[in-house]
Symmetry: C2
Subunit: 552 residues, 2 copies
């Protein structure tokens, strides 16, 4: 009796499983567990080797351990029979990639490679392949202009190809020894089904794959580096499997390890943010979904393909078959607020938070809420991690302007919140200016569920109502929907998105008086954005160069 669909959501630091009830569209149970080693930065545990600046690794053994913990747990919590699971869908952070042998064994599991940093998973936030990304962008600009149009104009250092090339250059033995280089999500699906497939979602957004054209031509790669000859056949083999289609069936071994029944259909791996689209009940054009957390991801479905500068990518069929899915993003949102707390929270406020037993963010927000827009005279550019959209430039940096001797910590904190809202408005206007329309905005993710103050600022700054979903399981739920469609128990993602119960939503309406002031501040934000990020003097880049020189 098929009753549930299983969603597996592998985030940056933990994995979670949900069982979605196919009759009611509600979540029957949830289980979650953290990766034992989290991010591996600073030093490699197996050798004690110091990792260079920008490196961020993971150990794939952690994923398997989490998988084997959360699946039995979620089944127990829902008292679900092994036979009651109709399908399995899985999402993973994207551009989190690893080298494996022919049989799927990660190179870092082999004694000979245990102490080799390039043999581990390189996480999306591994930022050490910048030189490779720049060279790839330059070459693509000359040879493959059409390709760059689909990626907002540049190739990111986070993506699979620059990371693979970095491996070749810095650890040719690892390059030589690997039979496949693939997304961690695809690797986990392989562990479930026993078959290598590559989900079209990550392949499209992070590996330059396209439904019509496939991967870039071999000549592009050999032009970059003659040692990349044959890279597509030798390292990137394996069928690209469309989103919401079946990648395979649960193998006997995997079923035994997880307490499930052999043969359950498993969907092609998906990118984590993207499964939130049907998870949030969206399956058509005209709606923007913002997944808000450490970073912001902005997704819009459209019927047409348009060239939009500065986005992360547009991929056909990647999220909902039949649509082009546009992705843009800001890489420093919750991360920015945390930076402030970590580095500049004054002792008095820290002590107050401790005394009242509330979060330090809450203490700052309480003070920041008493200010009117514009009252502090402060304005920030939210580029603490560089700028993802719409400037695509990792070498930019943050700015605060308007400081006086009466500026307070709460005023600065509020300016940081507002800066991320201005960044979102910039992304919205960029979509609209280039023909990708939307007339409603939905927010989900950790911040959308627990930060009404920030959501109201976003509504006021953008001048748009924002519907914030309070359900924190939307991503894992989305993964479950892909599993159900792949298994054929739901006909398509439209039906899936209609079935799902997204739970409570709060509608934030823009306050007109605030919006009028924010319009003025946004004009100044845009001016600084263009002056320091585009046409103006490259102060930030030169400071970075001085910094690198001075740190030698």
């Amino acid at each position: 009796m098929a009753q549930f669909t299983l969603g597996l959501d592998f985030g940056s630091l933990s994995g979670r499983a949900v069982l979605l009830d196919l009759a009611s569209g509600t979540v029957a149970a949830v289980a979650e567990a953290p990766y034992k080693h989290g991010f591996i930065k600073g030093e490699l545990p197996a050798s004690g080797e110091r990792l260079p600046h920008g490196w961020s690794l993971q150990d794939p053994a952690d994923y398997l351990a989490v998988l084997e913990q959360i699946v039995p747990q979620v089944l127990r919590r829902a008292a679900a029979q092994p036979g009651s699971i109709a399908g399995i869908g899985l999402d993973f952070t994207a551009a989190t990639v690893l080298p494996v042998q022919k049989d799927g064994t990660p190179l870092c599991f082999l004694p000979g490679f245990r102490q080799e940093k390039h043999a581990y998973v390189k996480v999306w936030q591994h930022h050490a392949a910048q030189a490779e990304a720049l060279a790839m962008t330059r070459a693509a600009r000359q040879e493959l202009p059409g390709l760059l149009e689909r990626y907002g104009g540049s190739i990111s250092a986070e993506w699979l190809m620059p990371k693979l090339w970095q491996t070749l250059k810095e650890a040719p033995a690892v390059y030589e020894a690997m039979d496949h280089y693939l997304e961690a999500g695809d690797w986990l699906v392989w562990q479930l089904t026993g078959q290598l497939t590559r989900g079209s979602c990550a392949a499209g957004y992070k590996a330059l794959w396209n439904k019509q054209a496939g991967y870039p031509p071999a000549s592009y790669f050999t032009g970059l580096d003659s040692r990349l000859a044959g890279v597509l056949d030798k390292k990137l083999a394996g069928p690209v499997c469309p989103s919401a289609s079946r990648a395979g069936r649960l193998s006997r071994q995997a079923a035994a390890r997880l307490g499930l029944k052999e043969g359950i259909p498993v969907a092609a791996a998906m990118v984590d943010a993207h499964v939130a689209v049907p998870g949030a009940g969206i399956s058509g054009a005209g709606q923007m979904l913002i997944i808000m957390g450490t970073s912001n991801c902005h997704l819009v479905l459209a019927e047409e393909e348009a060239s939009v500068p500065g986005i992360c990518g547009v991929v056909e069929d990647a999220v909902v078959p039949g649509y082009f899915a546009y992705e843009a993003g800001q890489n420093c949102v919750g991360d920015l607020f945390d930076w402030f707390i970590r580095n500049l929270l004054p002792a008095g406020l820290k002590e107050q938070a401790r005394r009242e037993n509330v979060s330090e963010h809450l203490i700052l927000r309480r003070l920041a809420r008493e200010l009117k827009p514009g009252q502090s005279g402060l304005l920030a550019l939210d580029w603490w991690n560089g700028n993802r959209s719409i400037l695509n430039d990792a070498d930019l940096s943050g700015l605060i302007l308007g400081l006086t001797t009466s500026s307070t910590a709460a005023e600065i904190y509020r300016a940081l919140l507002e800066a991320t809202a201005f960044g979102t408005k910039k992304i919205m206007e960029n979509f609209l200016d280039h023909g990708v329309g939307f007339d409603s905005v939905t927010a989900c993710g950790g911040i959308a569920a627990k930060d009404p103050f920030l959501l109201q600022i976003y509504a006021d700054v953008t001048g748009r109502p924002i519907r914030a979903l309070q359900n924190s399981q939307l991503v894992a739920t989305g993964a479950a929907l892909y599993g159900a469609v792949a298994a054929g128990v739901l006909p398509d993602l439209t039906a899936a998105s209609q079935l799902v119960q997204t739970g409570e939503a709060v509608l934030y309406q823009p306050d007109t008086a605030n919006s009028l002031i924010y319009d003025k501040l946004y004009a100044e934000y845009c001016l600084l954005h263009d002056l320091l990020g585009k046409e103006g003097p490259a102060v930030m880049k030169r400071l970075l160069a001085i910094r690198q020189e001075s740190s030698l």
Copy 2:
């Protein structure tokens, strides 16, 4: 038996007295006492009235109380006979002004004006006469271009005339009731001598007075406001008395109150920073003196008058007769570092300072010292209180650029220290570009004596050796020298500056490797300085306008 000269130094928050031994040129004793009410901000004690933003008042009764405490004390400490004092010199913060009656009684002493805020002393940092200053600058630009050339191009809201006009506009009864509006230093000299005089130093720098031309013509004032007709005769009467000349002799009443002998010559009141010039042993051209503390004051003597944009002023004979004394300044130095500690010092560092029983500045400096120049990638514009020199613009504000999620409190703090050094370098280059030369730099004041880390940064940034005087009594000593010259026991300030023992000096030599990096950072500082302070988009001014609008 004339043995000593008495120096009285009235600073922002306290007064101090020194007895200088005329034989040895050394300080025989010091006494100091704070003003009971300090700065009166926020609310007026006599009425509880809320004072507007930017207001800063003092009660002249506090000056008298301090005077009557420190003079007898310093005499006792040196075991000096009342007859052993040859002369008295007095300096005071400049543009600290008050309205008085014909007999010198401050209006705020009268029951009818006790609750009237305009009847009190308006301190130099009272920043509420901006509209008046702008209107005066505009009118002067048309009618008196030569006058503005002596003041770097604009009239400051801090000065006597804008404050007087503000009083007329906002409290006509106070304007009507006052017989004189004068500097607090001149008022104190009057209390000592029984005679109204005005020191040419403050008159020249802060009241538009000039040795050749006197005050601006009456038509200038009536053009501003018809009610200012007769202002020079009615409110600014009293002889302007040259620096280092005798304003009068100690009256019998004052002598009795202070425990001194009647008839001691009293020099004309001086501006506090300026007396540091002979106090530091300087009496000729070619040397820059920087008085470093809450703010920085840069003084250079020269034989010629030149038009230097953006300085505070150039006044003939004001410091050392026979020379033109050029003054420039930065209004946010120690104040900036204190702002950081007050608002953004993280709890961990605060706790560390407490545990080790050292200052919070020291804890930050210790971390900041471990960084190399340029290593943080940060750059700041030091305009937290606007910019005094060389932009003369109170509406500018501070900026920090280059922030990343790895930026630390110590890195930001160091960027603030460096920003003030860049500001000083800008002032130096401006002097040199406009024909005011100097080939040595001496620093004095609180920071020069106790902050070797900052002094080294100044040497590295400016690429010049800086001689830092460790003696913290140089200002009061300077005042004593003016008293001795006015009394005729020293022939002139050259002799006085040769007599004085300035004490220990530390020479900071620029580190060439650091200077090379700072040259690059300074180029970026200049670029931002001009872009945001001069020709570029007036982002800071528009933010201020939005702020004012939003605070209504």
